[in-house]
Symmetry: C6
Subunit: 86 residues, 6 copies
């Protein structure tokens, strides 16, 4: 088994939901979603074996984007939506 390296299994990379900017918050959303996938299937060969199929299927990309949207909603709320002066 070609195991995902330990840092890919950290569930909340950086250990916090607070980020300086929306851009960083969105990157964190993507990362959290990806690390969850790694925790469910930690064998990179299996994951990569499925990837060509997944990343060329619009329905699957949309499903992945859906998960990112939900993670981002949580992170955005955590950061008070990065409102300035609010």
């Amino acid at each position: 088994m070609n195991r995902v390296p330990a840092e890919g299994l950290v569930l909340v990379p950086g250990g916090s939901l607070i980020t300086a900017t929306p851009e960083e918050g969105r990157a964190l959303a993507l990362m959290i979603a990806r690390h969850t996938v790694h925790n469910i299937q930690p064998d990179l060969d299996v994951l990569k074996g499925g990837r060509p199929n997944y990343a060329t299927t619009p329905e699957s990309i949309i499903a992945a984007a859906h998960v990112v949207a939900i993670e981002f909603a949580t992170i955005a709320a955590a950061n008070g939506y990065w409102r300035t002066g609010a």
Copy 2:
């Protein structure tokens, strides 16, 4: 590989969730969803190869509209729902 141009990979275009109007907020929701797709699959040829199929399948369009709805919920909350005088 026909890579999505750099500006298409910015996760939160404009760097803020705050917009002047609901219309702009909704446009941002669409853009954020699209850029997430670009980040998951940055090869435009692959993306466009899947598109004819995707954009003519009602189920896929609904799935995409679903993601936009969730992104918009976050953006709308960030903007206090653009209530005036509230």
Copy 3:
């Protein structure tokens, strides 16, 4: 191409999430969902080509109703749920 007319491409018809009643709020949710679909696929012939199939498939109708439910959640929150005297 038989393009959706311009008013069908407005993302937030009326330019506001605030409505007088829940009924109007729900109608807005349906409209916003529909206009998002129009923006993703602005060719009416393609849209209508897929419709007979979509609107007779329970799973697709449920998926569409799901999107409306999410849009409505946002609109309802924007309107303070139309509580009276609250």
Copy 4:
């Protein structure tokens, strides 16, 4: 066409999200979801034509229950979750 009667097309039956009890709130969630379906497909013959298939397929029932869950979340929030003395 065997059209859904007018009262089945009212989007928010009763015109309010406020109910006396959680039970009534849940019934409203079911009704709102059903009326949305009626608005998307107002031909009862078409709807009923799809129903035997839909209501015997666990996946479709779960999808319908999912929509009800989201409608209920909105209604429950509108009612302050029917907390007593809160």
Copy 5:
């Protein structure tokens, strides 16, 4: 028809979203989801006819768990997340 008994058709068993503990709140989420299914398809024979297939298909179990997650989100909010001393 082998009808679900009357108590299986109560939409919010116990008539309240308030529970003493998260464990009870989660059990209520499961029950509410199940009773919604019963209301959509009140014929136990039909339901059980679909069950072997459903409960052995990972995708369907995940879809059911998804609905429970949403019901629980509502119940958890109703209970102030069972925070002590908050």
Copy 6:
């Protein structure tokens, strides 16, 4: 039947949504999702029989990650998003 052990059927392991860190909150989200699956299908042989198929199918992994995202949203809200000094 090879039944899931009793501790795998506890719906909210630890009996609380409050955790010290986001990492622990995320681990709890994964656990709650898994225990819900166990409650729906408590026969480990059936669950494991479906697993090879599930955990190698990108769509199913994404669907599972979706559920975890929703559980985490609830847990994060319960914990005030682990904001420090906010």
